[in-house]
Symmetry: C2
Amino acid sequence: MENMIKVAVDAMGGDYAPKEAVKGSVAAVSEKENVQVLLVGKQEVLEQELSQCSYPKERIQIVPASEVIETGEPPVAAIRSKKDSSIVVGMKMVRKGEADAFVSAGSSGAILVGGTTIVGRIKGVERAPLAPLIPTKEGVSLLIDCGANVDARASHLIQFARMGSIYMEHVMGVKKPRVGIVNIGVEEEKGNALVKEAYPLLKECKDLNFIGSIEAREIPSGAADVIVTEAFVGNVILKLYEGLGNTLLSKIKGSMMSSFRSKIGALLVKPALKKTLKGFDASQYGGAPLLGLKGLVVKCHGNSKETEFKNSIIQCISFKEQRISERIGENLTVAEEK
Amino acid sequence: MENMIKVAVDAMGGDYAPKEAVKGSVAAVSEKENVQVLLVGKQEVLEQELSQCSYPKERIQIVPASEVIETGEPPVAAIRSKKDSSIVVGMKMVRKGEADAFVSAGSSGAILVGGTTIVGRIKGVERAPLAPLIPTKEGVSLLIDCGANVDARASHLIQFARMGSIYMEHVMGVKKPRVGIVNIGVEEEKGNALVKEAYPLLKECKDLNFIGSIEAREIPSGAADVIVTEAFVGNVILKLYEGLGNTLLSKIKGSMMSSFRSKIGALLVKPALKKTLKGFDASQYGGAPLLGLKGLVVKCHGNSKETEFKNSIIQCISFKEQRISERIGENLTVAEEK
């Protein structure tokens, strides 16, 4: 098939490897006709897993890789030494054009390092940001950067804003995405040195719908579609989202089980509550793309299950069809020349 | 009375001034015998408000101040020019020893600037951090710094850790408070330049119970008693706490009202739920102390009502009785000499 999108999937990464990666791959090829999965990992193990599944055989192929990069390993050394690891093998396929995208729930550090050193940045891109979608009251926003690019410079933030805008417009279908920069107040003179430097530069970008500073308080209400920040702050936002959501929900559950009366009530509210909270479940949206690379790399949560793998694989289709990498390359080149 | 604690209260600060500040003051002197409130603001307005309340007359006194610093005003200029504002008048009383503490729900910027320039820092304190208590699964943690000290240096973070530890031990009664530094991973080599510099210095502080890095995900579960971070990140954490809590609760409320079945259920779970969520309501804990000053300054939320004012005033009693400012001075001097 001509328009088949080829996605290399790291079958060895994540807490539930290889089972959930395999199940997610099977689900993805069953749901979408124009995707082919290249399952990277230990051949025998994967053959065994796949033998238990039913799926169109021609659309899942095993690509052998004998090594696994563990989460605790120092990323740079791991990428260099484990040439036959699922991450290195999968990323090399993207670099060579044998795959359009690579999906992994493995070591974040190794994925970030491998993305830059193996897949490589698009010409003009200074740093490749990790950009997860986070749930909001109204839908989702893109939080960019949550990666390893700590101590970013203002010029990086401008590129993050551009890449995030392209992603939200063409993958998520948001017209003129509102771009906000995370700040500690909405007045223009507020902020740390980085934000004060980036703010006027963002304001000058005529190609962006820059709405100014947003305070962290406004993020969950969906005040911006693209939330620009450097990686340390982005990581804090992402992880606090997770932690606070879990703590609040466990407290709410606990309180509902505290008396006979509330237990009965809990049974009655449960279906409605479940539906609502599903909208706040990050796994729905698949993994986070690492933007600005010569091919797509998607980082899934370490605890990803079938659904997140499936959605991450499906996400690669629009990314490829919408030519996101090409658009980023063109946009940044034009912006540079101006 | 010999051990009477004198608290100057900014009656003109906050969204509900002067009514809620006055009500909170009346509630505080009614609840605690050893506190006297000096209500700072427009005399006629305050006389009018107080005339509607019943309280021990000798324990609330009006201190006239004709001006008000508005939230939007540039803080430095406002503190300089509005000499007869409630913030400047109240803080001067602390500096002169006419009051032990100052409580205000007014302009954060003006309170931070005034704290340093009028009340003044304790000798040896490089920066005065704003340190709110935030709710966790188990109780509360102190988040230090959430103030205006952006672009902090490592030496500041070490002092924040010490001041926060003293506060949690002597005001909140936590033995050997666990001190954690906010980071994007738990490994020692992780972090931005600031955290990498501060981490080994914190590890060397034998007077602290330093437990290492904590990720934002672990904050709500109560992984540390004192959460050390620079102000930009602290502000993001504090405000995201607020925003995410509100969004989740409004979604939960909405889902409970979505069907007849869930409405009935909601009625049954409401009492238990309300009790639980109260534990996650920051107003319970009073305002945030600005630590490291020659007297106590407490910053309340702009939307503070009676309870937060009352609790903030009462908080000043243990702060004074436990000699927190003196302990901070002694501790930092000893640490310096080592």
